[in-house]
């Protein structure tokens, strides 16, 4: 009881190991999963199933047809559905994105692939002005059921113009839904939800995750599997600190949580899944439970996703916070090319661990490990 008293009062006088609730460390869903699929296979199967279910769905982008997809996401689709539904476009982002939007005005359901989201900047006028704002400007007469998808964020060694994360840019705009999957289950469920959704959806994948395998249950492989847009997932439950992340950073956060658990800090990892609409309810409920928050993202820090989450928590759950919110983001520089500099410009697992410790008022080494 004394030990309880000490720990409850937060003095940290004892560091008795706690009795962990059963199953809190392991992710809940993966109990009896037998099958593992890569994110690439998940996306491919989702596209395949949606295209076969609804003949109005078609795919267009650069190299999606005969090249089988620049990252092989659309492999096999040209043979199956023909060139009328899998369109190789010329290198004209503004043009073909606008064509997709115009087709969507008429009820077709285009999936527009950008080779990376960096190229979407050439088409951003159409994504925002023609697609996102149309339902509002036309007072509900014209909805735009379009999906813009492609890899987002940093890959390895591709330099400044190919490495930017656009989550914060697109999530800023009302009228767009922005999704960012992490695992195969996320990829499948969210892409299917996005294609079925009657509004424009920006679907931010990650090139480095394409080849990673994740276990999936039979429910996920069912063709009517869909995940809700606007709901986050608690990847790992914890009690001491909440870590929010999306896309590749979820993997890093989970690794960090493992490391932290060995030091007695139980971290709760939230996979945001949906950047807009942001699942503020889940994040706030988690912070009210753990009282500490670390936000992790790959993009530039200023006006980023972490800034919005921090503000949301401050607005809703200020009195529940025991420590200032820690924000981990990419370095505020265009992505350098050199491998060691690139490693420093992107959040690493150590950074997350240190931030979590800072949030828990543990002493941390001052300098970042090189």
């Amino acid at each position: 009881m004394l030990g309880v008293a000490r720990r409850k009062l937060g003095f940290g006088l004892l560091s008795t190991t706690r009795v962990l609730p059963a199953g809190s460390v392991l992710p809940k869903k993966y109990s009896t999963a037998a099958k593992e699929i890569t994110v690439r296979e998940a996306l491919n199967s989702a596209l395949d199933e949606e295209m076969s279910a609804d003949p109005k769905v078609f795919l267009m982008g650069e190299e999606v047809g005969e090249y089988q997809g620049a990252y092989k996401i659309s492999k096999g689709l040209l043979e199956k559905y023909g060139p009328d539904r899998v369109l190789d476009t010329p290198i004209t982002e503004a043009g073909f994105t606008g064509i997709g939007v115009g087709a969507a005005y008429y009820g077709l359901r285009p999936v527009v692939e950008f080779m990376t989201f960096n190229f979407s900047m050439q088409a951003i006028d159409h994504i925002i002005n023609s697609a996102a704002k149309s339902n509002y400007m036309s007072a509900g007469q014209i909805s735009v059921p379009i999906v813009f998808r492609g890899p987002n964020g940093a890959a390895a060694g591709v330099g400044a113009q190919h490495s930017q994360c656009y989550a914060a840019w697109y999530a800023h705009v009302p009228g767009l839904k922005v999704l960012s999957p992490y695992s195969s289950e996320d990829a499948r469920g969210l892409l299917k939800a996005a294609i079925r959704d009657p509004d424009p959806v920006v679907f931010l994948e990650n090139e480095l995750l394409y080849g990673e395998s994740f276990p999936v249950s039979a429910e996920v492989l069912d063709s009517s599997f869909c995940l809700p847009i606007g709901k986050a997932k608690i990847e790992r439950e914890g009690k001491h600190v909440t870590i929010t992340a999306f896309s590749k950073m979820v993997g890093y956060a989970l690794q960090a949580a493992e490391i932290l658990s060995k030091e007695g800090i139980s971290a709760e990892v939230i996979n945001l899944r949906s950047i807009r609409p942001l699942d503020r309810a889940t994040i706030n409920a988690s912070v009210r439970k753990t009282n500490r928050l670390v936000t992790v993202e790959e993009g530039f820090p200023q006006h980023g996703v972490g800034a919005e989450i921090c503000m949301s928590v401050m607005e809703e759950s200020f009195e529940y916070l025991d420590a200032p919110v820690e924000r981990i983001a990419g370095a505020d520089v265009p992505m350098p090319y050199a491998a060691n500099l690139e490693r420093m410009a992107v959040p690493q697992v150590d950074d997350i661990v240190r931030a979590a410790k800072r949030a828990c008022y543990r002493s941390v080494p001052m300098a970042a490990a090189a």
Partner: protein, 556 residues
Amino acid sequence: MSAFAAVRIPSPTLVGARSAGEKPYAPFVSCPAAHGLHRTHLRSTRLGRPLLAVSSDVLSGQKSLGSNSSPSHHAVVSREEALVLYEDMLLGRVFEDMCAQMYYRGKMFGFVHLYNGQEAISTGFIKLLETRDSVVSTYRDHVHALSKGVPARAVMAELFGKATGCCRGQGGSMHMFSAPHNLLGGFAFIGEGIPVATGAAFSSKYRHEVLKESNPNGLDVTVAFFGDGTCNNGQFFECLNMAQLWKLPIVFVVENNLWAIGMSHLRATSDPEIWKKGPAFGMPGVHVDGMDVLKVREVAVEAIGRARSGEGPTLVECETYRFRGHSLADPDELRNPDEKAHYAARDPIITLKKYILENSLASETELKAIEKKIDELIEDAVEFADSSPPPPRSQLLENVFADPKGFGIGPDGKYRCEDPKFTEGTAQIGNSDSLENDGLEAVKPVQFHSKPWPPPLLLLLLLLLQVVCLLCEAGLVDLDLGLLFLILLPSPDEERGDPLRSRSGHGVLVARKVTEGEEEVLRASRADGEPGGFGFIGGGRSEGVRFCAFSSSRIR
């Protein structure tokens, strides 16, 4: 620029455009520049040869589809057709003039771009379309909307920003949308409408080829209207390429009024003959006199016919002029008054009226009756708009999404979150009642199960303890008591199975003697640092458990 020479301008009636055959092309363009002299230019002189209206091989040998043109006259129109054209052009003109009046009276605001002088193009093309065909325009879209069939009342109310407008006041002058009339906007960015129009044409072809929906009269046609300034924009060329590549049923109509706000077309374009850009991409390019509705109509018949039969796109350049400035905020100082006078003399409405009267298609009184009818229609539209209510405040947040719940629409067409088998992911914290709302509504504070105040029994015990402590303080009771009370209150997530949490919902009272070490620590945590007495040290939440710590000490 200095290579231009002065050339006599041929009289307007000879400056007609034909879909085939030679004709001189002579826009009256004065150089707004250096010497202050008025110069007239014949573009063909600059090029050293007279212009051909169409140089594309594609169209040169072709029979015109459905056109009843003869080589040297205007197309012959029937009386009914002529009256329809007259009425439509007049509607556009009177409406725009009324817009100007209303703007200066403060009823309309923002950017308003008027179409005076260009009516022949809108009427000439759009009156040949069916309802299933679509029109995509720019910010100068009022008259396109009217020609396509959107009621004048709805357009006027939209301009006034009222809830009865065609977009309920949410679009405004530059964003006219009407789904029943297949008017796809209304785009403020120039060049933005062209890919959207190409996409609409794409969807028409897709529905025909892939979804196998077919109409006996042919494909749905899309007509895209845009200006001369747009023709230097990258998206224009991207779409010419793709439209021809995929043979889309679209007509690209350039309303070349020679000015992009204050930028003369000649100053901005390396090769000012826009129709030539069509053959560069493999489609026919046609030039037509945009001040003559019958000539425009003739070209339109052919271009729309081509698109409808699946032969692909056409680029039509219409030479026209806007009588007013770029917008109502434009002082219009850069344009030469002679140029304006020249085009005013070619006013399409006056030209058509003359044609009708000369060919005895209708009498003066009938035309006057039409004019009166239009005037009354516009007056009625203004009254309607004036008396309409502004949008209610609740409309601000509406229509951002087609699916407001944000969870998407399931395969059965209903909102997914209403499906009983809806997966909520694993975001279960607290009770699921608190999460029944979608994430888009204002976040309500999460409801916790736990009672914030201890149950009555506990309160009683607290009271008792307090009394005891007071008695100690007062010295009435000599108890060597250092009491540490810990009151554990149930945490919100009882179900987690932590053995430290109370399952019963009641508090657990712990009381025991405080050791000296702990006394030190407890003392340190108090704000006043004073030992002794009864005091509330602190409370809070740790690991989801709420606690209060009281101490009392008369440690001896």
